[in-house]
């Protein structure tokens, strides 16, 4: 510090900022210690990883809890049609009754998740949990160019997990206090206030039972057609298809990937076939890619599997529909993919 000229500041002036630095360091250390205490999660809630989807973060936390109790034999990935369509409790039970062997599945469906995001997420899940089965429930919307899904793949933590360093990714991975800070930040976001309420009710195995069942009324139909017409305006997205291929590339001796076409109401399916080329094109390209990589691609005979009253809307199953679909899936696994599911 200089005391000559017009700058006559003494060293004593540094005491307050120096003390502030010490307080900051001690405060952060104490916060980190407190955040690592086991009971903190019950008090503050599931910490955040700074992703744009609270549903994704709850699923990550759910899977971590699940893995601490049971082996993770099988993970279901996909968007909300997967999360609301596959009930692991039904699937596991049916599989046990058919084969006499345990299968522990976790449903990692995330609302809005596109194929691009699924490619990144599935890679991380396989790296962390090494499941023997990865069931990827896909629909044509997953590879749409204009689908406005959460950009999970650009979340710093996701990128960090995939080998791209960032300070935020590092902090999320290594600092519990930082994850709670991100939760607090999310708590302050108005856009998250509505979403948080809609994602309550997920089971321990990640399944979200539909709480509302819409009458398949004209306005619901108009909304569905409007939504899917918008997606069909552009051809399948190359980057989303690359994400899809990335999921398939995870198939190997340790983990077997099976692609399952998501159930959709027959009326919507017929409309899509007749009115747009996009759906046929998207599904064809996904099937071709699966065939090329020797990954099974299962189509669902929806009219046989899902009861007429098994729909929450034109693409999401309600509780009864999910039960039927999960039983069908278990049966199929027991009969067609037995090798992959055997311990």
């Amino acid at each position: 510090m200089s005391t000559s000229g017009t700058w006559r500041v003494s060293v004593a002036a540094l005491r307050t900022p120096a003390m502030a630095l010490v307080i900051l360091a001690v405060g952060l250390a104490l916060a980190e210690m407190a955040a690592r205490r086991p009971g903190m999660r019950e008090v503050l809630g599931t910490p955040s990883i700074g992703s744009p989807s609270r549903g994704f973060e709850l699923q990550l936390n759910g899977l971590e809890q699940f893995a601490s109790r049971l082996p993770v034999d099988c993970i279901v990935v996909g968007n909300s049609t997967a999360q609301m369509g596959v009930d692991p409790a039904v699937l596991d039970g049916r599989y046990l009754s058919l084969t006499g062997r345990d299968l522990h599945c976790f449903n990692f469906g995330v609302a809005g998740m596109t194929a691009g995001a699924a490619g990144a997420v599935a890679t991380i899940l396989v790296q962390r949990y090494h499941p023997r089965l990865l069931l990827y429930v896909v629909s044509a919307r997953d590879v749409g160019e204009s689908v406005d899904g959460p950009l999970l793949e650009s979340t710093p933590w996701v990128r960090y997990q995939l080998g791209s360093f960032s300070s935020e990714g590092w902090l999320v991975e290594h600092s519990a206090a930082f994850r709670y800070y991100l939760l607090y930040r999310q708590w302050l976001e108005p856009s998250a206030w509505r979403v948080a309420a809609s994602e309550a009710g997920t089971t321990d195995a990640g399944f979200l039972r539909a709480r509302t069942r819409l009458p398949l009324a004209p306005e619901v139909w108009a909304h569905a057609v409007g939504f899917y017409s918008e997606i069909a305006r552009e051809p399948p997205s190359p980057s989303e298809l690359a994400g899809y291929a990335r999921v398939l590339s995870l198939s190997g001796p340790q983990t077997r990937v099976i692609v399952i076409e998501a159930p959709a109401h027959e009326r919507l399916r017929r409309w899509a076939r007749r009115s747009t080329r996009f759906y046929g094109e998207a599904m064809r390209r996904m099937r071709d890619e699966a065939r090329r990589r020797r990954v099974p691609f299962w189509r669902v005979p929806t009219w046989r599997v899902v009861p007429a009253d098994g729909w929450s809307d034109f693409v999401h199953l309600d509780g009864a529909g999910a039960t039927s679909f999960s039983e069908w899936l278990a049966t199929r696994l027991a009969t067609r993919a037995d090798g992959a599911t055997r311990n």
């Binding site: 000229g5 017009t6 700058w7 006559r8 500041v9 307050t16 935020e168 206030w193």
Partner: protein
């Protein structure tokens, strides 16, 4: 960009304090012009030419024989400044508050050059000043983008004195910068990103409570943004040993409209008071000194506030906003005729509180006209009067307004804006640590936005 600006500031400071006093002024001028050129080089000629012309005209005023030569030079200088202001402001953009402004600081520095002309004419200012001093008065970089609008006497006096920065001044400067950063990054920017602004854009689809939330929230955003800027500017200036004027003094605690304008954008409202209101009032009183001089009751406040509106933008809604504030001031003056304030007597607490509530509510209600074109503002007011009530907004929005009120309350209670300097060192250090944490968290959560009045 912010890091670069900060690094440039450090370099400027280090060199400045190594120079003798007179070269320091030249260095300040160089830094200020470089700062201006960095932000808006294409308008640098306008700044230089207007400064040179105003300086020349002021010398003419000082040297000219008494009336009418002096007066002619004064009005020529005023016309030149107003013309430049109008040309630059309205030649380059129509809608204030709509985008980062292209013309940096013309609304602020032209008022300063006019103040120099008026004060020279009235004899309040003794010439000559060195051209370089005058140029620094006009172009001094901490106040260039959005004020405060300095008066020549106090600023030029500081240039003539030793500008020592000691421990006390450094502490004060750091506190002003810290308070300013907190107001801007933690309060204004975070709240701005979370307000239901769509409600104001489409009032027909909004309910009353949503509109009220958006308007009240925007009042806090505007205040903390502008007060934050001023606080940072004053803190930075204090590092160069130059004190800039206070611009805000807890305006949401104003108990009358006169009080409001002594608390909100103080340097501008005092400029208007001294160069518009008082001359108009004096001219009218010269004709009729009685209390019943109705013209004096109505005209000066209305003209002053219409000029205030016009300064914000040459549009009907700005005039409406200014005109409404003029009407409030007139109403208050009429009230004072009926219930004259007793000199020296403090207002009872209950009357003060009612006053605060009325002034805050009416000024927020009127803010709609500042923000929106007339037709849209009318729609918002109509909706506020007749729309459905709607649901209460999420209480979390209070997290952004309560700290602002706390900050104001601390400052008003202790009568000192750097009140935290009187705290014990550990408490000060803890507050600074918290502030640093909040700045980092806030900037990570919401990228810093341009200041609302930046370059106005």
């Amino acid at each position: 960009m912010i890091a670069l600006w900060f690094a440039a500031l450090i370099v400027a400071l280090v060199i400045y304090h190594r120079l003798p006093p007179r070269p320091q002024i030249c260095w300040l001028l160089g830094v200020s012009l470089a700062f201006y050129a960095w932000w808006a080089w294409r308008f640098l000629p306008a700044l230089v030419l207007l400064s040179a012309a105003s300086y020349g005209i002021a010398r003419r005023i000082a040297q000219a024989p008494p009336q009418p030569g002096r007066r002619a030079w004064l009005w020529f200088g005023v016309a030149l400044n107003v013309g430049t202001l109008a040309l630059l402001r309205y030649g380059y953009r129509g809608a204030p508050f709509a985008e980062p402004f292209a013309v940096l600081g013309v609304s602020f520095y032209s008022l300063q050059t006019m103040a120099y002309l008026f004060d020279t004419y009235s004899g309040a200012l003794r010439l000559p000043h060195r051209p370089v001093d005058f140029a620094v008065y006009v172009a001094y970089f901490p106040k260039m983008a959005a004020g405060p609008i300095e008066r020549p006497q106090s600023f030029l006096r500081q240039l003539a004195e030793a500008r020592i920065v000691d421990d006390a001044r450094l502490g004060r400067a750091a506190t002003l910068i810290a308070v300013g950063l907190t107001r801007k990054l933690v309060l204004a920017d975070l709240l701005a990103a979370r307000l239901p602004t769509a409600a104001l854009a489409a009032p027909a689809a909004s309910d009353r409570l949503m509109l009220v939330t958006a308007i009240l929230g925007y009042a806090f955003v505007l205040y903390n943004d502008f007060a934050g800027y001023t606080s940072i500017a004053r803190g930075v200036s204090a590092l160069f040993g130059i004190e800039l004027s206070r611009n805000f003094a807890q305006p949401f605690f104003a108990h009358s409209f006169t009080d409001l304008w002594n608390r909100w954008h103080i340097t501008f409202s005092h400029w208007l008071r001294d160069y518009v209101y008082l001359p108009a009032s004096r001219a009218l009183l010269r004709r009729d000194l009685s209390r019943g001089n109705l013209a004096n009751l109505f005209v000066p406040p209305l003209v002053t506030m219409l000029a205030c509106g016009l300064w914000h933008g040459a549009s009907v809604h700005m005039l409406l906003w200014g005109g409404l504030h003029g009407v409030y001031l007139v109403a208050q003056r009429i009230g004072m005729l009926r219930w004259p304030p007793r000199p020296g007597a403090a207002l009872p607490a209950w009357r003060r509180r009612i006053g605060v509530a009325i002034v805050f509510s009416l000024s927020c209600w009127t803010l709609v006209a500042l923000l929106l074109p007339t037709a849209q503002a009318m729609e918002v007011w109509w909706r506020l009067a007749s729309g459905p009530m709607g649901e209460l907004p999420d209480g979390r929005l209070l997290l952004y307004t309560l700290p602002s009120l706390w900050l104001d309350w601390m400052q008003i209670r202790h009568g000192e804006e750097t009140v935290f300097l009187s705290w014990p060192r550990p408490a000060r250090a803890a507050l600074l640590a918290l502030a640093v944490l909040l700045w980092c968290a806030a900037s990570a959560a919401t990228p810093p936005r341009p200041f609302v009045y930046q370059g106005f």
